[in-house]
């Protein structure tokens, strides 16, 4: 029992590592902000493209979505970070992470948006068009708000996935939360900093997971 506590819950080591981890957490937040905003925007564009009447546009969007949904994000990251330099494209870890995760996330968000838009009845667009709104206006004011409401839990859970995903950035030595924790672990030969990092992730993500669970149960009851 004592070894267990010494190994995973060593408070001295945790308090020593805390400042480093806090810095890492700030980097994680920065990364999340960029990746989530880009992912949402890109996903929406892709979803619209995937639903467009233009065949070429539609099929390229669908191919993009399926391609990047099929590749593990870590593979994309390693490819962007270690593969592209061979083609003369050298990226900072931060940029590599943003690009790799954008490719991955935008595909996931696109799928969510697409499902949401599909679930809005056709009559809604027709009614909007009949009252003189343009296609774009109908989309912006009538279809999208309903679509987003349809898939709000999915958008939220995707967002949780993105935050979890940022931990992979540690693999390319971007000093985010997990990287800092693992640094501290290798210096102290003790797993407690990792447990502390886990606690910090939980602090942010557990409430979100609860909210999603509530939401989904609400939908199931209705």
């Amino acid at each position: 029992m004592d070894t267990f506590i010494q190994t995973f819950f060593n408070l001295d080591i945790m308090s020593q590592a805390f400042p480093l981890l806090l810095k890492g957490a700030v980097m994680t937040l920065k990364l999340c902000a960029v990746v989530i905003v880009c992912g949402l925007a890109g996903g929406l564009m892709l979803a619209l493209a995937a639903l467009s009447p233009n065949r070429a546009l539609r099929w390229s969007a669908i191919a993009y979505i399926d391609l990047f949904r099929a590749l593990p994000p870590l593979v994309l990251l390693v490819f962007v970070y270690s593969g592209l330099p061979f083609a003369g494209v050298r990226l900072s870890p931060f940029m590599a992470v943003v690009i790799a995760f954008f490719l991955n996330n935008s595909s996931y968000f696109a799928e969510v948006f697409r499902a949401g838009i599909n679930a809005v009845p056709k009559g809604q667009t027709e009614a909007a068009r009949a009252t003189g709104l343009s296609q774009a206006q109908a989309l912006t004011y009538v279809v999208l708000p309903q679509a987003v409401r349809n898939v709000l839990p999915d958008l939220l859970s995707n967002t949780v996935e993105v935050v979890k995903l940022t931990s992979l950035a540690s693999v390319v030595s971007l000093s985010e939360l997990l990287y800092s924790a693992n640094m501290a672990r290798s210096v102290t030969y003790n797993a407690s900093p990792l447990v502390l990092a886990a606690g910090m992730y939980l602090l942010v993500l557990w409430p979100l997971v609860r909210v999603i669970a509530r939401y989904q149960r609400g939908l199931a009851v209705n």
């Binding site: 190994t7 593990p72 270690s82 949780v160 797993a191 447990v195």
Partner: protein, 222 residues
Amino acid sequence: MRFIETFFNTKVMADYMPDLIHAMGVTLGLAVATIITGILCGAALACLRVAGLKLVNFCIIVFADIMRALPPLVLILILFFGMPSLGLNISGWMVVYIVLSLVLTAFSEEIFWGGLTAIPAGQWEAGRATGLSKAQTLFYIAFPQAARRGIPPLVNRVLATTKLTALGSVIGVKEILSVSSSAQSFSGSATPLTMAAIAYLIIFIPAVIASHKIERRYHFAT
């Protein structure tokens, strides 16, 4: 031309093909083991929750929340670096298998449970009124319907979890990504990374396409 030389060097491809095929076997083995364990345990926990034991249910909920909120890589590092301090030496393969199984268990438990709560009370009553026991009603009537409702999200979650097998590369599991990464540094060519990407596409593109089909089918069926 240089592009092809860098990313599609046939000599490098031929050199590393046997290693890569072996690695694909490791990835697939890990994936299959995870899927079976995760889905079975998730189903078992969801059914256990039906019994309505307060303490047990509380533990299941906390477990599922934590496993859904934590980045899997954090768990992998904690287990991989923490266990030896407790005198337990478990292989990297085992660590990834345990962590991914726990994660999939948590998600599939929630999916099955969500399905079970959506089963109308009348289904339970019809079963009980014809003399079936609670367990029989669960087994033959409620759970099969819950599983059906759960198939689309379950398929997506299974894909997401099996893609996480790439995390094994971080702790030296000889799966696709780690084999190709080390091949990349030995050969000084980006080609092994391309091969890795293709290997994943071979595995996951059919899975992604199948998931679209399944989603559509079960969307209209219910």
